[in-house]
């Protein structure tokens, strides 16, 4: 579990990363803490979706769809439970489950170590995550929700930029290969 191994595909050899013990759990706690308290003092940082960035990062790094979707589900449900009564449990859970699964699946096929690839993938996943949320709100909650706004586009770019920086920091939690 703690070893680094290679996933062999016909096209290339993609490295599967392992993390230090407890690294994922501690990361999640810190991320949720930041997500909860940073916007209190920096309102503009409320556009950051740090749990989503963590889901994308671990999905791309672990490259195991099952692990990725379960991790996404756990992060999403935690975000739901911390979001208050207006957000039913499962809203972010479903979205992040899908994102975790897709990130793991894509990470198993592409080299996602390059910052540009990470930036692009984060923008795409952010948009997809937002799309799933809108879909859930419209269908399940019967809440009118716009599909896209300029603010969402800007938020996607900012989240991607923060994600690239955050991913670089999180790379340090990996076990050396």
């Amino acid at each position: 579990m703690n070893e680094t191994y290679e996933l062999r595909t016909p096209e290339s050899h993609i490295e599967v990363h392992k993390f230090r013990p407890g690294a994922i759990l501690i990361t999640l706690i810190v991320i949720f803490f930041l997500q909860a308290f940073v916007p209190i003092y920096f309102h503009r940082l409320a556009i950051l979706d740090l749990p989503l960035l963590i889901t994308i990062y671990f999905g791309l790094s672990r490259r195991n769809p099952s692990t990725g979707l379960l991790l996404g589900m756990a992060i999403g449900i935690a975000q739901d439970s911390l979001s208050g009564p207006t957000v039913p449990i499962g809203l972010y859970g479903i979205a992040k489950t899908v994102i975790g699964y897709l990130a793991s699946s894509i990470g198993a096929r592409l080299d996602t170590e390059h910052p540009a690839a990470r930036f692009a993938l984060t923008v795409i996943f952010f948009g997809l995550h937002q799309g799933i949320l809108v879909l859930e709100r419209r269908i399940l909650l019967a809440q009118p929700e716009v599909w896209f706004t300029i603010q969402l586009g800007i938020a996607a770019l900012i989240n991607a930029l923060v994600g690239v920086l955050l991913f670089t920091l999180l790379d340090r939690l990996r076990k050396p290969s």
């Binding site: 769809p65 979707l69 899908v98 699964y101 399940l140 019967a142």
Partner: protein, 322 residues
């Protein structure tokens, strides 16, 4: 047990995890008007089948009712037709009863307005078999106190007099009969003259001098001199006036509809009657201009006994007979 390929396990796991969360969402979400979303979904999932079932059952039922059950419809139509006929007859009877009630109400009002006059209501049960004579039969006879020469009237006007009595029925000579007559006068001018029947719908008013002013439409009322009818009962109205020699030829339209009599009033007294509004002067005949023979003089009574009864004027019927 069919094994799932390892590459598909994650997809199944994804589907299962998402489905579980969707169900969790559905359990949590409670819409204001529809309850929990899970229930909304259940109803939504079942409603197409329920609707299809309803349409299906409705179609089968409609087919049965409109095609296979038509044999009962035919019978129902027959029953309804019979019921319709029965109801039509009932409606006709009810209308007839309403009309009869109206007529009886008129009679009752008349009777209440002339309470001093002993009278008896009677129903016309037949007419003369001879077209030349104008008589009718009443359902009242000697047992009811009806005697010969009693006057018969309606609230509209006089009808005639009783000419024959039997235990349970009596025969009335209508005013339009050729042998009939009544003492009369013009209501306004008080000019007297007997009115006699001609055997036709109109009456003939006699002994009115050519010098007397008579106009079309003048009302003719009873004079009371015949001792059969009280004074001032409507006889008819003048419809035609021609100069004659030595008297005018005056035609009078009867006030009562003698062609369609159903209920009448028999004046159950042979005494000279005076209506409540009669004045002593009018009763004495002081204002009469032209002397005219009484109606009984113009038309002899049917038989001697009745003439005697009319002359003696003995009351044979008390007010209790009303």
């Amino acid at each position: 047990m069919v094994g799932v390929p390892s590459r598909h396990k994650s997809i199944f796991l994804l589907a299962a995890v998402v489905l579980l969360q969707v169900l969790a969402l559905a359990y949590q979400i409670k819409r204001d008007s529809e309850g929990r979303l899970l229930r909304v979904w259940s109803v939504g999932a079942l409603s197409p089948f329920e609707r299809a079932g309803s349409y299906g059952i409705g179609g089968v039922r409609g087919t049965w009712l409109h095609y296979f059950a038509l044999q009962n419809t035919s019978r129902e139509n027959e029953d309804l037709r019979h019921e319709n006929d029965r109801l039509k007859l009932e409606v006709t009877q009810l209308r007839s009863r309403v009309a009869e009630a109206a007529r009886l109400e008129t009679l009752l009002n008349f009777r209440e307005a002339h309470q001093q006059v002993p009278m008896l209501g009677a129903r016309v049960i037949g007419a003369s078999a001879d077209s030349a004579s104008r008589t009718i039969y009443l359902d009242r006879g000697e047992h009811d106190g009806v005697l010969k020469n009693m006057g018969v009237i309606t609230p509209d006007g006089i009808v005639g007099k009783v000419i024959e009595t039997f235990p349970a029925i009596s025969q009335v000579l209508l005013l339009t009969d050729k042998d009939s007559g009544v003492g009369a006068m013009f209501a306004e001018s008080r000019i007297q003259g007997p009115v006699a029947g001609l055997g036709e719908p109109l009456l003939d008013m006699k002994y009115v001098a050519n010098d007397d002013q008579v106009a079309i439409g003048q009302r003719v009322v009873t004079s009371g001199l015949d001792r059969i009818f009280p004074r001032d009962l409507p006889v008819g109205s003048v419809v035609d006036i021609k100069p004659g020699n030595p008297f005018k030829v005056i035609r009078v339209q009867p006030a009562a509809n003698l062609e369609r009599l159903e209920e009448v009033i028999v004046l159950t007294t042979l005494q000279p009657l005076i209506l409540k509004h009669d004045s002593p002067d009018a009763a004495s005949g002081a204002d009469t201009k032209s002397p005219a023979p009484p109606a009984d003089a113009a038309k002899p009574p049917a038989n001697k006994s009745s003439a005697n009864l009319a002359a003696t004027g003995k009351p044979k019927v008390s007010a209790a007979n009303q």
